[in-house]
């Protein structure tokens, strides 16, 4: 880009404008100035929107929090419409974190497997159709996942859950009383399917960038295919897998409608992951919104602000890791 800006000033500019010439932009003609202004303005609009989101959410959240009689972080209830209002996010935080962790635990190994399948195992002719299938998985709207999860998947899980109950029920975590399993576990499984594409695609990119010469070095030492991957591909791709997982985590934390469709919420923290109950930030907003008063909406906005901050942190961290990786691999390329 340096070259193009230098050449932009190359045609001899009229003397009148030279004094205004700016080294950074090279915009000297009115047309150039307007165009640069428009495009830079758009970039600024994006920043303003981000700032506005934070500002407006914080403002409305503050309105709600000032009247809250419960502790916002530790209260186990959501009575925002009661007088006086009492609400807290403890249950939501628990449900959001638990369902997202279940999703990650399931999705990351599977996604890494598929990414390896596409980059190193699949016959070359199969690789791009498979990548396309993964993209299709990403294109399905979350409401359709929700519908499918609630009507098709959940009933199919009862058998598995009963089995888990008989074998692992003594732990408490896998206790299951029967009935429609619209529980955090089911939500986690559904979220795992939904975040699979993004984790797969980011990891695949990284695996494909793994230097061929290190793979050949391992091969020439008499390594099997798996040993090649363990010696040269996985160490190279580790940070990529981490940031991919965090991007997936960000998605899982904020997923709304699929969770709202599948989960049968109650405002309790139960030990069992298999029995219905629990709630997440986003699901709670969607479910409670219809009957909420204006004050109730502010309370929901307060919980949304927490969700916003969490996803901001997770996504920001993921992007930092990717950016640092780029510098690292660029220096070594």
């Amino acid at each position: 880009m340096d070259i193009s800006t230098k050449t932009a000033t190359a045609p001899p500019p009229p003397p009148a404008t030279t004094e205004k010439k700016r080294a950074t932009s090279g915009a000297t003609r009115p047309g150039d100035r307007i165009f640069l202004g428009l495009s830079r303005g758009s970039g600024i609009v994006l920043l303003v929107i981000m700032a506005a989101i934070a500002a407006f959410l914080t403002y409305r959240a503050a309105l709600a929090l000032s009247d809250n009689t419960g502790n916002f972080l530790t209260t186990f209830e959501w009575d925002a419409t009661a007088v006086p209002p009492k609400f807290g996010i403890a249950v939501l935080a628990f449900g959001t974190v638990v369902s997202s962790i279940i999703a990650l635990v399931i999705a990351v190994p599977v996604a890494v497997g598929i990414a390896l399948f596409i980059s190193h195992y699949a016959p070359r002719k199969l690789a791009s159709p498979i990548a396309y299938v993964i993209d299709l998985l990403a294109a399905v709207p979350s409401i359709v996942y929700g519908l499918w999860g609630a009507i098709v998947v959940a009933p199919n899980l009862t058998g598995l859950y009963s089995w888990l109950d008989t074998t692992l029920g003594w732990t408490g975590v896998f206790e299951y009383q029967g009935g429609a399993p619209r529980s955090l576990m089911t939500v986690g499984i559904l979220l795992a399917i939904m975040i699979l594409p993004i984790i797969t695609n980011v990891s695949r990119e990284v695996f494909l960038q793994a230097p061929k010469m290190h793979e050949e070095a391992a091969l020439a030492l008499g390594a099997t295919r798996w040993e090649v991957i363990r010696m040269s591909v996985l160490p190279f791709g580790r940070s990529g897998i981490i940031s991919a997982s965090m991007l997936g985590l960000g998605r899982a934390l904020g997923e709304t409608i699929a969770v709202a469709t599948v989960l049968s919420p109650n405002f309790l923290i139960g030990a069992s992951l298999l029995d219905p109950g629990g709630g997440t930030f986003a699901q709670n907003i969607a479910s409670k919104f219809n009957e909420a008063s204006e004050y109730g909406r502010d309370a929901l906005i307060a919980s949304g602000l927490v969700l916003f901050l969490i996803t901001l942190l997770v996504n920001g961290a993921a992007r930092m890791i990717i950016a640092r990786r780029k510098e690292y691999s660029g220096a070594n390329a």
Partner: protein, 357 residues
Amino acid sequence: MSTTTPTAPAARAATPDTLRAARLPRWANPLLALGSVAAAVGIGLGAGLHSRVQWGLIAALLFVVGAYVLASVVEGKRQAKDRFATSMVWVTFLLAVIPLASLIWETVERGSKVFSPYFLSHSMGVVADKDPGGGINHAIVGTLQQVALASLIAVPIGLLTAIYLVEYGRGKLAKAVTFFVDVMTGIPSIVAGLFVLSFWILILGFDFSGWAGAMALSILMMPVVVRSTEEMLKLVPNELREASLALGVPKWRTILKVVLPTAIGGITTGVMLAVARIAGETAPVLLLVWVNPFINNNPFEGAQGSLPLYIYQQYAAGSEASYDRAWAAALTLIGFIMILNLAARGIARWKAPKSGR
């Protein structure tokens, strides 16, 4: 390594005295796969397990374990590990295909029950949720208008931002924009909805409308448009820009007349994929557009219908007839998105910049 005999430390490093290694025959794997499926079906029927999910899991487990045991007996530990990794990788791939296949199959099968021209051309205005009949015309109108409005906001801003980042961007501002575009990609859709709710409806006091929903959707769409456009602009060779600039064409005209036309195929693809993404968003619509069973052709006033929200409502209504309508609407939505996706890819292939080869 069954061939190395560890006699003395020095000899340990010696190469195997033969290049041969016992290998499983080619037909071993398919046979094992068939056997595990058969065994899983047997176990499933015998133990009376109803769920196909369990059958599949049992089959996968049998296959992976079987491949490992067989290989470690015949081929040795290292080869067994390799086989284990290979079969695990295959299993993960199947694990991803099964949900997609099931989802599409169920949607098509259940959705085609009430899917008809009547369904597409009628609204829910005079039909109660528990009764059969009715359609999604109002929802289609709403979704199309909301998506169109969102695109009208997001596409120009997204395009210009991408142009700024690629053609002009240097320094702190560009870095900040790049970073926040990435972060914006990760904003949960419900948060975008809450934001518009807080300033448009709660603070400015406007009513629920398609326009409010469109604003939230545009926030979700912008980063996607920026990213894909950026990628495409970066693919335009610098020589083209320099050639045009060297002819004395001003930079802004170079961008408009040379750079953008070269990348237009890819940019269109990106925009269509972004449209496909927001067309299925429910959460912001739920907060901002409200529900309206009647056809409302004015997105700036009053509640509207919306396709994704319609699915949610019909599911929540919980009757046989409403489930049928939910599936049919899901079929319509998926169809719409898949067509957009395919068309986008078609354009990408058709308009791909012919690089110098």
